[in-house]
Each structure stands twice: as C-alpha cells, then as structure tokens.
Symmetry: D3
Subunit: 131 residues, 6 copies
C-alpha cells in the first residue's frame, strides 16, 4: 500500500490542518487565514503538501523536523516570518530555548555570522512573545 | 567545570581535531589536508571554531547538530562537497539513511524541489560510497 | 467545484505524470526514474504537487509558466540540472530559442551578469543537444 | 565632461526613461529620484542598461519580461521593494492579478513555500494600493 | 570568572574586543550587548573569531577588509543590519563615502540592480546618521 | 542597424574591451568569445556595462574593485567560473596571492565556512594555472 493510497483528497487537507495546528499553532493558522483573500488555493496546498504530506511522514521525528526547518530558514536568511513561526513550532514539539539558540549559533559556521545573528534576534522576539 | 576551563589554546585545536575525526571522519581530514598548501591557518580555524567551539558544546546533541547542518546545506544549494561530508557525518553519529532522505525531502518545502532533488542525488552518491 | 474535489489521489499522480511527460519530456522522466532507489515517495510528490497541482492549473498559460521557471532557476543559480530540463521544457511548450536567450540576458539585471552568463551557457548545451 | 557625454547617451538614457515610465510607472520614477543625492550616475545606469538596453529589445514581449522578473525576484527573496514595483509593472503591461498570483504560487515549487508566501503577501499590498 | 579566563584566551577575546571597537565602533558594541541575554557565548565567539582571529591578521589591510565585507553583504542581500554596521566601519577605517557608493554600484554587475539599489539606500541611511 | 549603432557605442564598447583585456585578460576574452554563437548582443553588454561603465570609473581604484568582486563572488557561491576569472584579474591588477587567500578566509565570517573553503579551492586552481 503506497503512501497516499488510502487518502481521499479532503483527508489529506484535514490531516494537514491537524498537523499545522499541532505544530505551528496560532502562527500557522494566521498564515492560512491571511491567504484567504489573495490565494485560497495556496492555503490548501500549504496544508496538503508540507503539513499533510511531509510533516506527517514517519521516518523522522517531529522534533528533528523542526531542527531541520529552523536551521534551513536561519541559513537562508530570506524568510524571517516563517523562521519565527517555526521557532515557536520548535517549542511546541519539545525543543528547548537553549536548543533553538544552539541551532542558530551553529548556522554561523555554515551561513555566516550575520545569518546566525539575525536568527538569534528572531529567537529573542519569539521567546519574549512566548514568555 | 565549564566547557573551556581546562583548555590551553592548543587544546582548542586538538579538541577540534578530535571532534572532526569523530564526526566527519576521512572526509573532514581530507579537507584539512587539502588546505595545507593554500591556507594552513584556515585549517586551524576550521578545527578551532566549528569543531573545537561549536560541535563540542553541550546544549544540543550531535545527532541534532547533523540534522541542522544537512538541512542548511541542502537548502542553501551552494555547498555540495560539504553537504556530502555531512551526510557521511550524519551516518557516523547515528542518523539512518532513511532519516537523511527525509531531511532532504523536507527541504522541498523550504528551499524548493530542485534543492531537495540535488540533495537526494548527493545522498545517493554518499550511500553508494559508504556501501 | 474546487480544484481538488474530483481527484482521487491516483488521479492526481496520473495527471502529474501526464503533465510531466508533456512539459519536461525525457528530462523529467529521467528525474523520476533516478529517484526510484533513493526516495520513491518523493518521485510521487514531484508528480503530484508541481505537475499535478501547479502546472495543470488554469490562470496562467504553460508558456508563461516556463518563462517564470527559467527566469527563477537562472536567477537562483543553484539548480543547473533543473534549469536545463526547463529550457528543454520551454522549447516543448512553444518558446523559441531567442526567447529563452532573452530571459537569460534579462536576468543580468536582477541577479547579476554571472547568473546570466551561466544560464546562457546552459542554454547553449541544451540547444546543442536538441539540434 | 561627464562619463556618458560623448556617447550621445541622451538617446539611450531617454529611451530608458521612456521605458521606465511606461513599464514601472511612478514606482520606477520614485527609485530614480531617490538615487539623486546618493548615486546620480547609478540612476543613469538604471535607465540605460535595464530599461534602455534590455526592456526595449525585441525578441521577448513586455508581458513575458514582467513574468520573468516577478518570478525571479519572488524566488530570490532578497528584493521585496523591487518585487512590488514589478508586480505593479506587470499590471501596467497587461498581466492580470490572477496571473501574478499564479506566478507567486508556482515559485513554491522552485524556491520553497516561504518565498511564495512572502511574494503573495507583497502582491496583496500592491493590489490594495492599486485598488 | 568569565568563560575563557584561564585558557589564556582572554588575549584572543580582548584582542577581538579591541578590534571590534576600533573597526565597528558603537554599532559593533551594540550587537555584542544585544546578545547578552539570548546567547552570551555567541558574543564571545563573535569577538574571538571574526575580530580576534580574522580582522587582526596581517596579509590584508583593514581598508581592503571592509571593501570585501561591504561588497559581500551587499551582494548577499540578506544582512542589511550588518551591512550598515560595516558601512560605518568602512568610514571608520578610512573609506570615503564615494568609495562605499562605488562598491554598491559595482554589485549591480555581480548580484543585480536590486542588490545594488538596496545597498545604496542603506548607505544613504548610514551617511545621514553619520552626518 | 544594430541596437547601439546610433549612440556612438563603439566608444563605450571599445573602452570596455580595453578594460576587459587589461583586467580579466584571457579569461575575459574567452567569455566574450563563448557568447558569440548564443548571445552576441550580450557580449556587447558585458563589455559596455561592467567594463565600459563600471570598471573605468574613478572613485575606486582597480585593486579595490577586484577585492570587492572576489569577496562578492566567493560569498554568493553560485559563480565559480567568474570567481576564478576575477582571482586571475586580481593578480593582474596587483593583488598578491596572500591577499586573495585572506579575502577568501574572511568570507567564512560572512557567508560561512563552505563558501570560504570552495573559494580557497578555486584559488588553488587559479594559482596552479598561473604558476
């Protein structure tokens, strides 16, 4: 039985919405809502592919998935709003603040000190809002 | 006793070399050797800062550190040789092939399908060499 | 009726495979085949999301979709294999060689001369193979 | 004697100014004006090379040129002000709002969901100002 | 007792702090202070590696080092706060405003006009604050 | 009548060709020649804008211009062929091998260790060919 065999399309979207709520929390729902009047189909795709297809896969635990996402977005440096959503998501799935800070610091090695600094200052804002 | 308490500066380099060997294995040593005739001081810096300072820190386990590095390098798409070294490093510190494949696939969400595809094909080469 | 309403999952994959063959031709099928032994689920996702969901949408003609993809990949500069597949795809959906060259040249304005040069040399290879 | 004086540059510059006004409209003129006190020669270069040399070329229609530019800037993710100017330019040369939204959505495939999301939110602002 | 006190690294950290003050001035100190409550060890690393290890090396004069940094950050386009700190640093080590403007303009060739424009507008802000 | 015929462009083009030969040497001429059968107008633009307009400007010395270009291309990591041409150009206008190595090393701070490593290995090839 292949991955998608048992999923009717609405199931895929619902599974994604479920994962989005559990992982990204309010930040994720806010993104979906903000798409409603500009690209509602894209809100569906966002639920279906990243959340319905990827985050629900076995093979890598959710905590590691958020480590990967925080690292990638910090390194890329072009997606601060999404980085902040996933720092909150990291906290939601069990990463500690210290671990998130360590990921940001490590990015100095791979993407340079400015990428690490900007990620650390984003973390500071996320932690302040979460306090 | 803090992390750096007992380390004289030369120890920092040695601690880095130790970490490099344990994590990156032969791939890491090959990089250090390749620097010998062009920028030997940079070989020292590579041992000291990424490996002596960052990878030896408490606060994030080595397995998660390699998840972060593989994700970042896959997303950036500008560092294929280093991505391959760290896929091998991931295997060295306990990631399974399946987990590495999952990290690459997940990068399609954050950096696009070409980044994920190129990372998967790099993984294919690393796994073939490791076989 | 919304986009996904009538599509059982296998339809989505089949619709994607159909679009992939029509647009990317042999280059696209080669990518799908190369994924078989490393990440077969990702081959499904590649068929389903980019080709099943995006390229089959109304709202933008296929020719314009390939203009967008060639421009983006040329500007990013990190995805030469995919750029070449989409230059061939551009020819397949009706772009002329001259138009593809113009897109590459225009990228000098937005991503710099090296990005434009590297894209032009990729085009040269694609046109030589297509001759 | 200024740099361009002997190359009858007013022709090239004027052709560029004409194209800039027609394509980018007020957004383009605002950029040129903002350069006046920091880098006036660069305002000339901006008129001459992108607008005088590239956008006035035959070989690719203006509509396709704006598809390419919007796609590239959305994918790069480092040029939000310029992306917004060119979304307005796209409307000026005949792209519909729906087509611009489709280009942004398609960038999820090549540059990731954050790039597409940030481009869609930029489009939302441009469309609100144009309303 | 600070982190590195008995590893004789205070020399390295102090040398870095000295270089940071001389080169980046208040902007650099502000960054170090902003790290105090989120990642104090990273403040140490920032002093030690970039400033203690790199900027104090012979082999390239400080003026050229700032040319390199301004060019790189302008081209990358993901580090505006750091670009502004280093434009001020460039003035501190002897670059003229005209030279900084020329570096930004030149980046149009290598990273595109948007990168150059955004760097020029950053320079405009830095010069206004320095006036 | 070609595009630039009426703007006395031979002056601008010739000035660019002169600068290209003096700065980039054989590497630059090879690029111009390689464009002849795919995009000859782009060869003209390459001579006219980067070399005719930018490199011939007063306001920044040629040596500093090459420092800026090497740093930017090393940091971007997407333009290895052009980075190598400009490392040779740096040698042509008076940079020492040591200075080029220092620029590469410094990029570890701003763009990460992989960018610095890949630039250093490019330098190694350039120096071997120049020997």
């Amino acid at each position: 039985m292949t991955l998608h065999q048992q999923t009717a399309p609405q199931t895929r979207r619902d599974r994604g919405l479920d994962a989005l709520k559990r992982i990204d929390g309010q930040g994720g729902e806010a993104v979906v809502n903000a798409l409603a009047d500009i690209a509602p189909d894209f809100a569906d795709m966002l639920l279906e592919f990243p959340f319905g297809d990827i985050y629900t896969r076995e093979g890598l635990d959710l905590r590691s998935r958020e480590v990967a996402t925080i690292a990638a977005l910090a390194a890329m440096g072009t997606a601060t709003p999404q980085l902040k959503v996933h720092m909150q998501a990291g906290l939601n799935v069990g990463l500690s603040r210290e671990e998130i800070v360590e990921i940001c610091m490590q990015m100095a090695v791979y993407a340079g000190f400015p990428a690490a600094l900007n990620a650390l200052f984003a973390a500071k804002e996320v932690f302040a809002e979460a306090a």
